[in-house]
Symmetry: C2
Subunit: 171 residues, 2 copies
């Protein structure tokens, strides 16, 4: 049951981490987080996700200015911008869910690797600007920015609805 | 590192399981799977996911007839239909990603609990019929059906693109 407990614990203990120490995150660790994301399921295994890894402070700061949460990005050692590749997509709703599954794998991998991350969505209002800053082709549509670093603290609380409110039918 | 290894292993070892034994799945286990789903992140923590648990063979068989993968549903002890609650949503794309994250948590919990599952999307072509079979209100939009059981076998192979093909930029 140790195995079971660890996986469920990771799911229940993971929190959005928005403050990081100055410590950098190794490139191999970033690769592992992306690899974990890539093992999400997708319709017809079409794997519509693509990733941009941004460490360069100047470029990171330009991206930070595209969201009201820019300070989080500025103070983090690395961000991963997650894109949908329109040329790989087959169904918008299903592909968006697959990319959500991919990002959840990334967040759980971050937690497993003793790092912290936050999934930023507000920046999507400037998805085209972010794409242009990164000089990426129009086929790539920004879906999220995952900000990653070593957690400054781990006392974040969160709440969820009772599952009995979420279950709308049982037969 | 055991902790880390277990979580990453679950992410890498999880497969779509489409054949099940006759063994039933306890109600408490289904609740745990739904609870794991509910701990996904969502924008403004709006938790747009809702769940219908279907064990009743007649109703399950009616739902099975809404997809070309009906045999998988007919041979499973239980299915969970995952809905988006339109009255809780705030941004279609972000809410769909959140529901994808929720489903991925469910699939990892299934794996952790030594069960098997497959995420069915093809059935969405008949999302309205499924909703009507379950007599659920129009605010609930079917997003996926997760079929769950005790795996008949665990020899499923899968492949993913090399992550170097997925990383479109590094700075």
């Amino acid at each position: 049951m140790g195995h079971t407990k660890d996986i469920l614990e990771a799911i229940y203990e993971r929190r959005s981490i928005r403050e990081y120490t100055n410590q950098s995150v190794e490139d191999e660790v970033i690769k592992e987080i992306i690899r974990a994301g890539s093992w999400a399921p997708s319709g017809h295994n079409n794997q519509p996700w693509r990733f941009a890894v941004i460490r360069d402070p100047k470029m990171k700061s330009q991206i930070a200015r595209q969201t009201i949460y820019g300070e989080i990005i500025d103070n983090a050692p690395v961000i991963i911008a997650v894109f949908a590749d329109k040329s790989a997509m087959y169904d918008e709703v299903k592909d968006h869910m697959a990319i959500g599954a991919c990002i959840q794998n990334m967040l759980l991998a971050v937690h497993a690797l003793n790092l912290g991350a936050v999934w930023l969505g507000e920046i999507l209002k400037n998805r085209e600007k972010v794409r242009n800053i990164l000089s990426l082709p129009q086929d790539l549509e920004l879906m999220a920015v995952v900000v990653i670093g070593h957690p400054m603290r781990r006392d974040q609380k969160s709440t969820r609805m009772d599952i009995n409110e979420l279950i709308v039918k049982e037969t």
